[in-house]
Symmetry: C2
Subunit: 304 residues, 2 copies
């Protein structure tokens, strides 16, 4: 198995578009037929319905997209049985040949940071616990500094995996901390970007195509920020949420790519997985497939 960035770029070339479908399942938005048997207050019913649906979504999008991002929060709300489903889906998606990003946004220090890296990213060493594969990459929160990143980067290096650190998020509330100007001029997000570039560009972390295994989450709703962050982190692959449902458009997304047309992967969740809500069709499967194809086409047309 080769370097994470090389694998991701290869998968993007193979499928023809740098996109990622986010699995953020919410019971209330599943196609009605799947919700029929779920009794209120029965968590096992709910998480089973969600698992069945996610497995179908994975099969529908696998031929079209290189990558999926699975939102841990949606599963954790169903406590440990939810995490079991999340971990099964990670293994299932990898078995389908998809690059799998576990959207866990963990961040801690010292030994706790090691534990999170071992539990959320590594291929587990246990022979008796559930699925055998961790995701290909995870998202992490850098507020606690390099300590929050290093164990993840170490495991990524050892197991040919990747890490995406939050730098600039797509929500309006993120502004309040991330857009603060520091006394030297740059915004807090820019200084986080410096930390990510410095940590991610160390010896042994860059793949054969010039990209690091440590990437960055950069929301597609602030184009001026994206252009600036692109310059600060030339070797980071950007994971770009906010396209579609969150309001990000073509210009916002374009600024996230390098001039070689590489360096970013655009992710959308609700606009794809809940496509059946808009299209007024009983055939939710075709609605999702079509939405994934449309998104692939749309993003391909944007790339520099």
């Amino acid at each position: 198995m080769s370097h994470f960035a090389d694998r991701l770029l290869q998968a993007i070339e193979h499928k023809g578009s740098p996109i990622c479908v986010g699995l953020d399942p919410v019971l209330e938005r599943l196609p009605e037929s799947l919700r029929d048997g779920v009794s209120p207050g029965r968590g096992e019913d709910a998480i089973s319905a969600i698992e069945a649906w996610c497995n179908e979504v994975l099969r529908l999008v696998a031929p079209v997209v290189p990558c999926v991002k699975i939102q841990s929060a949606c599963f954790e709300r169903y406590l440990w049985p939810g995490l079991r489903t999340y971990q099964r889906l990670v293994a299932e998606a990898r078995a389908l040949g998809l690059i799998v990003i576990g959207d866990v946004k963990r961040g801690d220090i010292g030994a706790s940071s090691d534990h999170y890296a071992a539990g959320c990213l590594a291929d587990p060493p246990y022979t008796d616990l559930g699925p055998v594969a961790g995701p290909d990459a995870v998202t992490v929160n850098p507020y606690m500094g390099a300590d929050a990143l290093e164990p993840f980067v170490r495991i990524a290096r050892e197991q040919n995996k990747g890490v995406f650190a939050l730098v600039r998020t797509s929500n309006p509330g993120g502004e309040r901390i991330q857009a603060l100007k520091t006394s030297d001029g740059p915004a807090v997000a820019d200084r986080v970007a410096d930390l990510i570039a410095e940590t991610g560009d160390a010896a042994g972390l860059i793949g054969s195509r010039g990209y690091s295994l440590l990437g960055a989450v950069v929301g597609a709703t602030v184009p001026a920020d994206a252009a600036r962050l692109r310059k600060l982190m030339p070797r980071q692959i950007f994971l770009v949420p906010g396209f579609g449902a969150q309001g990000g458009g073509a210009d916002d997304v374009r600024a996230c790519f390098n001039s070689d047309g590489l360096g970013a992967i655009v992710t959308a969740s609700r606009s794809v997985i809940y496509a059946h809500e808009k299209q007024d069709t009983a055939d939710w499967r075709s609605a999702i497939e079509q939405a994934a194809r449309d998104m692939a086409h749309e993003v391909r047309a944007i790339i520099p």
Copy 2:
């Protein structure tokens, strides 16, 4: 059940010292007798040994301390069976009458933030999934702004629970982001403190003793910071890690309290739960009990 801050202060008065014991179990550091039956590579063996030990530690410290903090990362490294153990221990600790902080450091936006609050803090509405109680409070990461806090604060208000937002962490690496000076002068951590005070001091969130259900994590290794943050957040209860093993001393801790002697709870993990390593005794139970008593005494002597 009353307001979280009132309950916490009452528990502190009842037990006589504002301390919290952190459960950060690591297999290698358990008393040897408990590790005997664990085969390498068998996750179920490891997590069972950890659960048995944690249950004993809870019973040992419950008569001495008002509060425990359970580190989710240590359990998540054992995948979903680890989370099951974590969730059982939360319920067990609450049943012992302890105030329980789930140290989960989650942070996300929009619906994902709602899901984390539901999964990590709320008392679950399911009748069929594992334990019936969420923790009394959780830690959260504010890098994504108010969005990352609000669902937790809402559930805390509805269910008389609490939230501790990371403001200034005790690790040297935290410096790099949290101590950055902003263009107006204050450090990033101070601006995060403003956000916490503003969010936490809204109508309906302050208890009868004047403290908010939204508190702050402020490391006990930077005393000048603590004094400044104490002024910026007079109504926040500080959860103060870094005492003991991480190097925080009396002066660092003192600055975290208000002049009324309230407003902080000091947490230590390794110096208590691994006390048997230092004391060269076969009786690890007495070593832990004694270390908890010593810590209670030490912190009581520090309070203004």
